[in-house]
Symmetry: none
DNA sequence: GATGAATGAGAATTCATTCAT
DNA sequence: TATGAATGAATTCTCATTCAT
């Protein structure tokens, strides 16, 4: 008798979780090119063959990780701001939750942030990374750009700057925090004050 | 008739310039792993064999580019602040010059900044990038960290935050600007106001 | 209530039939190397794991298919000539039946012919196909060679040509017909005249 | 001083010749899937890396071999029939030259014929061979089909059969001969009589 | 009897590096 | 000084095969 569908699902989900966690860690820290599948497999505790059981190829794993794991993680756990309030309050809430998550003992969130922002900020494409950057992922950027433009329309945010510029600034500050968190670890991480960012945009 | 020593020197320098400019462009935009020597040679208009005349290997070229080209470029043209004044004025001057250079038509400076900051911010090492991260490059970080600590000692900069954290923030904001400049091109680039940064640290 | 032995036997036979039919189709059309077990399983509507219940390995399935399925099919349904008559009449009868079967709506026969003849005609061995060519299969060739030599002894067949050569010619013409049948389908297939072949050998 | 363009050309051509000859031998005898690049490299006396210096990938080498080597070889050396004469004389001449070439000590021609005809006769595509059969190569078939149709129009060739069928028959007979030649070697090869084929079509 | 999760040997492919000229 | 032919280690990817259930 084969394993039941239920049993398989459990096995499957556990393995995929491990693979995705390993991938998240490595891609976030080292980037796409510098990460090898053997390395992912080793960290995930499986053979490289299994990676191909679940994902068509390296890029597919990466793509899935970004869109189905990192982005939802960041969006649902971190960017769950109330969309009905004013942009300045949204931004304040977002940063409060963001900082709270960075202070968490769970590294996942800061890896996800680092990974997503890296994807957003890749600039030109070429020989090797071409497959990666072909389908440009602007989700984070669009998300914040919407808030910034809303804030500018509401008269709260500075309009002397291009909204895209302001958005990039916000994203880089977040990446800066996530980087510090990743480098220092959660123990040494001193939470910055949200007013730093708020002062900048207002 | 063979070339004179003088002629050879000129040719040599021109070649090296082209190679370094191509390397700067590619390493800054695509990163170390994603950049191939064939690509550099193609952009530089020479054969890949020639790269080995001037540099021992890929990493050597990269290392030289960072330390002998990108860093001096950034330091001398951009970070030429008067070291005798107070930290807050140094920082202000640095950002003023930085923004002025980003507005320049010459892409070199923003490539150099992007490259240097990428190097600073690489986190873990492993299989592929091992050679690159072996000799960690902290010049930019140390440079700004010195200013920040000076500013904190002088009582002008916020001491509620770890100096390293504040330094990382500054660096990320710079990278954010350099990224926007790289992405939009100099024509569309709107210079941000220096007060954004100053407000943050003070 | 568990299945009875009888029920199991029926299920088993049905499964095996499907697996063999799928294998016949794929091996005949694509060859040994280009056919994957996953593909066979998919066409057969079962898991690849099941293939290993019935056959030790890929080659074993292939071997069984050739010797227990394709060859008997071809021999019993197609090459059922009366062995007591003269070679020229045997050959004529064989071709008549062969052509009749090719005109049938059932693709099985032409697949079997194509498969068997491909096996016969594989030439050198090496890295990948090594397992396949290890045990050379000459059944069809031997079968026809016997008839040709008999015909030459009886004085009906041309003796100006090596019997092996003549045999190969006959086999290739058969493969040619089977190919046309496979390509055009049974609807468009126009039955060639047996005299074409007979004229050649006599 | 680098090698002169002329020197490079010579080196290049010699290596490419060796690679193509090795490829021709192996692809013709074992087929695309069963032939590995390491094997080709070994037979050609070079590293597999060099294959990628001259060809983008395995398929590209195969494609080039078929279109730029095997087909021209067969066409120019073997199928160089006078196009102004009647089809029946063209066919006769073609077979005379074909048989003459098969009797030659040089294996190249019979490999080329075997390779080309294999390509022509591949039937369905699927998972693995898909890249190979995507761009179906019908050159030989079209070539002979033209002659057959011409012969039918001129009233010399049998019109009771579909021209495509007759064409396939001719090609298979040729493949049969080429096979015999490949298997027996030129020493043992007994040239068949052209009338065998002529009788068939007339 | 049956499934599909899991493995790893082996094949394809990339690219830094060497070297003859 | 300069080229590009040539190599091979490292990586991606495929797929036959095993095995727990």
């Amino acid at each position: 008798m084969p394993r039941t569908i239920e049993q398989n699902k459990i096995i499957r989900n556990e393995r995929i979780s491990k693979i995705l966690l390993a991938s998240l860690y490595l891609f976030a820290n080292k980037g796409y090119d510098a990460t090898t599948l053997d390395e992912i497999a080793k960290v995930a505790g499986c053979s490289h063959g299994l990676l191909y059981h679940y994902y068509k190829d390296k890029y597919n794993l990466y793509y899935h990780l970004i869109n189905e794991v990192a982005f939802p993680l960041v969006k649902e756990r971190i960017f769950s701001a109330d969309l009905n309030q004013k942009a300045k309050y949204m931004l304040r809430d977002i940063f409060n939750v963001f900082i709270k998550e960075l202070k968490s003992t769970d590294d996942k969130y800061c890896w996800a942030v680092n990974l997503l922002i890296s994807v957003e900020l890749s600039v030109v494409e070429g020989t090797k990374s071409v497959r990666v950057s072909k389908e440009k992922n602007d989700k984070i950027f669009q998300w914040f750009n919407g808030i910034v433009e809303k804030g500018q329309q509401e008269g709260d945010f500075s309009t002397s700057k291009d909204s895209r510029e302001l958005t990039a600034m916000i994203i880089y500050i977040m990446k800066g925090m996530a980087y510090i968190r990743m480098k220092l670890g959660y123990k040494k991480f001193i939470s910055p004050n949200v007013s730093i960012i708020m002062d900048m945009v207002l």
